[in-house]
Subunit: 425 residues, 3 copies
Amino acid sequence: MTGPEMHDLVRRLYPLCRSITGDGVRRTLEILAESVPLDVHEVPTGTEVLDWTVPKEWNIRDAYVKDAAGRRVIDFAESNLHVVGYSTPVSAVMSLAELRPHLHTLPDQPALTPYRTAYYAETWGFCLAADTLAALPEGDYEVRIDSTLAEGHLTYAEHVVPGRVADEVLISCHVCHPSLANDNLAGVAVAVALARRLARAEPWHTYRFLFAPGTIGAITWLARNRERVDRIRHGLVLACAGDAGPLTYKRSRRGDAAVDRAAAHVLRASGRPHTVNDFSPYGYDERQFCSPGFDLPVGSLTRTPYAGYPEYHTSADDPGLVRPEALADTLEACWEIVQVLEGDRRYLNLSPYGEPQLGRRGLYGSLGGRSDTEQAQMAMLWVLNLSDGEHGLLDVAERAGLPFPVVAEAARALQGAGLLKERAR
Amino acid sequence: MTGPEMHDLVRRLYPLCRSITGDGVRRTLEILAESVPLDVHEVPTGTEVLDWTVPKEWNIRDAYVKDAAGRRVIDFAESNLHVVGYSTPVSAVMSLAELRPHLHTLPDQPALTPYRTAYYAETWGFCLAADTLAALPEGDYEVRIDSTLAEGHLTYAEHVVPGRVADEVLISCHVCHPSLANDNLAGVAVAVALARRLARAEPWHTYRFLFAPGTIGAITWLARNRERVDRIRHGLVLACAGDAGPLTYKRSRRGDAAVDRAAAHVLRASGRPHTVNDFSPYGYDERQFCSPGFDLPVGSLTRTPYAGYPEYHTSADDPGLVRPEALADTLEACWEIVQVLEGDRRYLNLSPYGEPQLGRRGLYGSLGGRSDTEQAQMAMLWVLNLSDGEHGLLDVAERAGLPFPVVAEAARALQGAGLLKERAR
Amino acid sequence: MTGPEMHDLVRRLYPLCRSITGDGVRRTLEILAESVPLDVHEVPTGTEVLDWTVPKEWNIRDAYVKDAAGRRVIDFAESNLHVVGYSTPVSAVMSLAELRPHLHTLPDQPALTPYRTAYYAETWGFCLAADTLAALPEGDYEVRIDSTLAEGHLTYAEHVVPGRVADEVLISCHVCHPSLANDNLAGVAVAVALARRLARAEPWHTYRFLFAPGTIGAITWLARNRERVDRIRHGLVLACAGDAGPLTYKRSRRGDAAVDRAAAHVLRASGRPHTVNDFSPYGYDERQFCSPGFDLPVGSLTRTPYAGYPEYHTSADDPGLVRPEALADTLEACWEIVQVLEGDRRYLNLSPYGEPQLGRRGLYGSLGGRSDTEQAQMAMLWVLNLSDGEHGLLDVAERAGLPFPVVAEAARALQGAGLLKERAR
């Protein structure tokens, strides 16, 4: 999938009213299933999941506030952000003074509608621009929220790209935000594109993609897969993947997991402007994967990080904030990280005493016509020098300051010449 | 004790002629005993202490140099700095030329009188301003030092604030300097104030305060407590605690002792301008406590460090150099460091799989109205995330970049909610 | 040997046509043997050495290209750089067009002749200035290379300065370059001077100097000494030792070998501008000594490093590029590094409880009249503090930030006073 194709997917998913449960998530997963086959899981309300309980399912059909003239001054049909997520049903006439405690605005960004939810408190509310609120006259308003909060299910989906081994790479993204584009339809679109690209690559690892609501979805998945999480060798939480900012990698709790090193190497070696941050127990679902009982090697890749841009959790996080070229760049970075995880192996130099004579084996000659000869030759010397059984190719790439693919290609050439033997993984 | 109260104590102690032995130290300890009960120890001359021997006791009543007109041109009664410490008695008339080898000045600070001692060489001398010396006419002078250097005792004192455990925190300060205010009456005053504050706090550790002459006093104490020093878990040498400069912490020889980490954290987290220096075997009595045979976890807290200010060891180190607000700030830093030492414990997250649902337990709600909600919430998430049995609260504070008290309060809240269990210390 | 004496040696060796085999190397070693006794080794063509085979021996008597008028337009007699090393014999008349593929120039440095070799490809060629080539008219040329490439020997030499122990320090330099002065006659001259200075010093370690052709020479030596290399405790490859640039130390593959720490300390403590680089598997014969099978603690000392100056491998690398004072400075740095390797021992403080009373032992007094008293006193305190059996004198020098000789002298003084005991090495 190209950047524009990912952007098309973001735009198509944007109008749906997603939440942590309900038909918006189901419809979202149906659309994703057109691109990648999905295993959809439905977990009943009341199911105990780790320290939590699956909540009631929430669905909404319509909602509005009408003025005395019968005009919808706040209208769910115009943007699903206008209703506080998980609002209970309401149908009443009330004065603006009575209504006001249920209205949420952003005084510092008066033209924007905020995104608000109330998952675990049974209440209701509307969100609107502070400018709109300021223009509302006193008087009575008709207030209606046509929603249901009832026994039902929490819905999430998995997509698996099988590998040669059962060891897994987990790619996770949250699918619970309504009309917010960068957070997180962009992450969803990149995940789908990465899954499609991996499916053609016959990877070594098995790749498990998780599309689940934030927090409670990850917790539900962890609760139901507790016996299997030790298969996860590496993982990435994808979020805010499409804004114009530079890439940001947030390390796993371990801090030195292979995915941490791979991501840092890829971002540095590529010359992209980027940031690498230490883990903190705040942000997206890495909070759950990196809780101390699991402590999985899962980092997080975003562009501008969590809550770091002014449009965050407002109506301005719309498809216009998401750039096709940024989606493509995030996908490419994911791909490069995956390539490191796939290719990072240990080799044993079979001729470790002195340098082997590369010229005699055509390993200089075979490279003579290429413009990157010098880099390729340095990569061979580094691979030979460090392939003592203690260092893998990522170690080589880091120490040599060479891009991982150049190092991996050097290892292939040396292995082809009988100078290297792969260590059992 | 407030800053002004500590400053009053400095001013009261300032005129006494202290040395490494003698009545000046005894009188100093009597005054301190008005504020905190003291155990005063008298160790006889000739006692072998580690590699050293307790020297003769020195006392002085009067000393002067009179000119031909009988005027005291150098006068001990005006400032005890005018006599070299441990000067032997002298009573003679001599020419300025004969006298000159016994006169000490500071050519680069001609208006100031230096501080000089000759503890282990039986000699005598006077100190005076270079300007004063330059104005002395040639001719005969009457020279008199009415001192005694004789068998006696070395005097030091201890004050103990008992704790819940026998593990000790050692707070040490030297009491051997005559009329020098910052070095070290300021340190003495802060130690007294800290002892009084601790006495009201029912601390966990036992706090041992040592008021002893520099070098030989610490060595004497170490010699007499050799079998007990393994009780010392943490320690601080207090010196130069009242000048206007920023705080300076000097690490223990170990470099990563808990007190080293606690002091660095407190200084950094407080936003104070400050310096943290590595250990060196020079300075105050940390030299003795950190000698390789003992290697105690004892750092040193000063404002401007040892020999680092122009007034150091001159008549300009007078009570005017010591600021009440600086004394109060040093005391506060000590207190904050002590709070870390007291409160640094390891907890076990009892709900380590995923995040526990804090909202259900009122741990978000209980914080809702507070202006520091975000910091308190982050502290709870960090404590939960790192309470895996490997990390203590200071580890959490360091990694989270949060002030220790905020972290400690989060731990208390989580423990109250049954989410944390304290590990045995 | 002084800088000018080393420079004389460079100038004397400069005209000889060295290669990886042949009489040029033999004649070079004969000249070196006038200064230091040498063990010369002759290894027959065809001998298998590690992954390599000793090649045929190459010798050359004359070579030229004559124009139609019989003038030598390219002349080996003028500079041996004009012939590609290991050129096979040729005697022919050919057009400039036919000749051109055998001519090598430096288009970016048109006035300079490049240095080229073809050790393992049987071919021939000439090197010349691009300006000279541009001025050659079309037409026929007489081309002659009077060389032999035949069964023979590879020649290298060793010089050993015996020490008190069999543990060895290896000093290696390549002797295969023809008329190139900095690379590496400068290194050869410094090695000879260092050997002569060491011979007078009765060193602790045994010093083995290796004068061998690059790559194949080091490989041959390693192959023939495989059972003995574990005697090598430290080593230095000397190259490019005489240009005007600052000193550059390149760490061994281990990165923290004693020689790595010694060299870094010497360069830093001396205040010289300098660079310390991490190991890379490219450069001089450290590539072989640091191959993973051997992994010897051998670093490399140069001034401007490998390939780092514009005259590198051109006719401009002539004796004028080499400065007598730079040779002397490199020798001095080597000497200082050697002094650290010789003197880095562990001592045990025999009075580790508190500071021993230095004044009583005359250890302050003995230093009183010296201008470096403070440094000497600090060095004694540091040596006492760190001599706990875990730290050697280089550790002390590094941590104290004091020059190694000052620390070593302090240790001698303390040992003399009975305060230190040397640990068995």
